[in-house]
């Protein structure tokens, strides 16, 4: 690897030191009793429109996104742009569904999707299924945040052998673990503001400065192999790349809001109105994500993969090294420090929220449901703090000892798993028509089928579905969600005909302001 870039490294360390201080100081921000789970784990539900915007944006647009989406454009071309329709589809869902969920969760003191499902359907096993799915889908996602961090540390020239090679990553994660433990959700909420400002500066610098250096967009796209610029036009009898692109966008959008960290960030808003306003304001991030996807093409045009100084990095990190290499190639050292800090801090914010979300789930829906039914509020909050540590150490160990590609595979599977909770959570926000056992069977079949289909395709996201002579390649998560829904509907009709009993501790008016 090339030498240590001292200027960039100093700026990077300085910015990291600043957010470390901020993370600890956040405990005193909008002060609440951190011995209560809703204070530690939801910031006391006191974040207004603006802070929620930073928090949700900092949460959904992770460091991994900023590294992986351009890397996909760099490697595979146009298909990477699915991230744009994906974010266009997602915000109306946020607008329609989540203010209702916010209301009912506020009214009943629910902190997790598991809490909501437990109350809505009165079925602890369905709630357990939702909870376990949430935790299992989140774990590899946390591990992936470390990949983003690893790539920029590699780009800074920080290297060594054995433990020394991993030391910077371990230090960054210890910092993360410590301020999450002490400040709860307030830490990522305050750091998200810094992170987002840095990311915006980086994104705009990248799409203005680099195209100027490369001679404009016309020249950049001329340098990209034609097959990568557009989607392949499907042949007869198949929806081809079009179907895959659209279902990937739609399925990812449906899955995104079901992740525990999404709900945690959304529930920390101070009102349903703040959530709705955010649905209109969050496309600001989508635009930036679209711009960043283009950065993958800039990297092709700049020819960074052929430059000898980056050969080592590409060998170690693959296409994920495209963005760091391009920034090193195009920016002065001090700005490399800023942009890498943006990505590095961008890893810590979602990792903190994810670990809090997983800790809330475990504490509320496994420990308090099955192990100790009557903890004091203080015991409950203390347990969640410890679980958030365990979750992060688990992710760290995973990334240090297991090849990165398994974290990526597991995250792909995580999308397929988490989408299976949609009928219970999203439809549950609108109707109590579904039978809880029908939902549980639908979830189980969807999860099993999705896993089997993904494994049969060597963990590629698209599954070539054959239907009456037509070939319909599409996102496995989307197809298995349809299967899940069909089963839930049919079994609900059957159980309702058998006059199954129906429990619901919420009433219709709980869902309005």
């Amino acid at each position: 690897m090339h030498d240590v870039n001292w200027v960039a490294l100093s700026i990077f360390v300085l910015l990291f030191a600043f957010i470390t201080w901020l993370g600890f100081a956040a405990a005193r921000w909008r002060k609440g009793d951190l011995d209560q789970l809703h204070e530690w784990g939801l910031g006391g539900r006191r974040f207004g429109t603006l802070i929620t915007w930073f928090l949700v944006g900092g949460d959904l647009y992770t460091a991994y996104t900023f590294v992986a989406v351009p890397a996909l454009a760099f490697g595979a071309g146009a298909v990477a742009f699915f991230a744009v329709p994906y974010t266009i589809v997602v915000y109306p869902l946020l607008f329609l569904v989540f203010p209702r969920l916010w209301q009912v969760c506020h009214k009943h003191g629910y902190i997790t999707a598991g809490d909501f499902v437990r109350g809505r359907y009165g079925n602890r096993w369905l709630a357990l299924a939702i909870t376990v799915t949430g935790i299992v889908a989140t774990m590899p996602y946390i591990a992936l945040q470390l990949v983003g961090l690893q790539v920029v540390l590699g780009g800074l020239g920080v290297s060594g052998s054995g433990l020394a090679a991993d030391l910077p990553l371990i230090i960054a994660f210890l910092i993360l673990a410590a301020f999450t433990y002490s400040s709860g959700l307030r830490a990522p909420a305050s750091i998200a503001i810094v992170k987002d400002i840095l990311i915006y500066i980086t994104a705009f610098a990248a799409v203005i400065v680099i195209p100027m250096q490369l001679g404009g967009f016309g020249k950049i796209f001329a340098a990209v192999p034609p097959a990568k610029v557009l989607l392949a036009v499907p042949g007869a009898g198949t929806t081809g790349a079009y179907g895959a692109y659209a279902t990937l966008a739609l399925g990812s959008a449906l899955a995104l809001l079901l992740y525990p960290h999404s709900l945690t960030a959304i529930l920390s808003a101070s009102s349903g109105k703040a959530v709705r306003r955010n649905a209109a304001l969050l496309p600001g991030y989508s635009f930036m994500l679209g711009l960043l996807a283009l950065v993958g093409f800039f990297a092709i045009a700049a020819g960074v993969s052929k430059l000898p100084e980056f050969a080592e990095g590409f060998k170690q990190f693959g296409n994920n090294y495209a963005v760091p290499a391009l920034f090193l190639h195009s920016f002065p050292s001090w700005f490399v420090g800023v942009s890498f800090a943006a990505i590095g801090i961008g890893a810590l914010v979602p990792a903190a929220i994810m670990s809090i979300a997983a800790a809330n789930l475990y504490t509320r829906n496994i420990h308090c449901e099955f192990i100790n039914r009557n903890p004091t509020p203080k015991e409950e909050a203390q347990l969640a703090k410890w679980v958030s540590l365990v979750v992060k150490v688990g992710a760290l160990v995973f990334i240090l000892f297991v090849p990165t590609k398994y974290a990526i595979y597991l995250q792909l599977l995580g999308g397929i798993w988490i989408i299976q909770t949609l009928p219970a959570v999203v439809f549950g926000a609108y109707t109590r028509w579904f039978n809880d056992w029908a939902l549980l069977v639908g979830w189980a079949v969807g999860t099993y089928a999705g896993t089997a289909m993904a494994v049969a395709q060597d963990l590629k996201p698209a599954y070539p579905l054959k239907l009456g002579g037509f070939l319909l390649p599409g996102y496995t998560a989307f197809y298995t969600l349809l299967l899940n829904l069909a089963i839930a509907v049919v079994l609900t009709l059957v159980f309702n005909a058998m006059r199954a009993k129906r429990v619901d501790e919420t009433v219709a008016s709980d869902y309005y302001a």
Binding site: I88, V89, F221, L231, A249
Partner: protein, 69 residues
């Protein structure tokens, strides 16, 4: 705060159907999978979808405002 106003924002509104416009616009690739016309050298495929990010923000803001009143 006027609770009647708050309530209206959370019931069903026909304005919500406007969201279907942005979904259809970006989930049907035949609409935009072409290189021409380019804009600032950017193929249609890219600037069309980026433009819809702005379009979706405008639609969502509009729906927010009309359902809020």
């Amino acid at each position: 705060m006027n609770t009647a106003v708050e309530k209206r924002g959370e019931r069903w509104s026909w304005w919500y159907l406007l969201f279907l416009v942005q979904w259809a616009a970006v989930l049907w690739p035949p609409f935009y999978n072409s290189a021409e016309p380019t804009w600032l050298g950017m193929p249609f495929f890219y600037w069309y979808q980026l433009a819809w990010v702005l379009g979706s923000a405008v639609i969502t803001a509009f729906v927010y405002l009309v359902t809020q009143r």
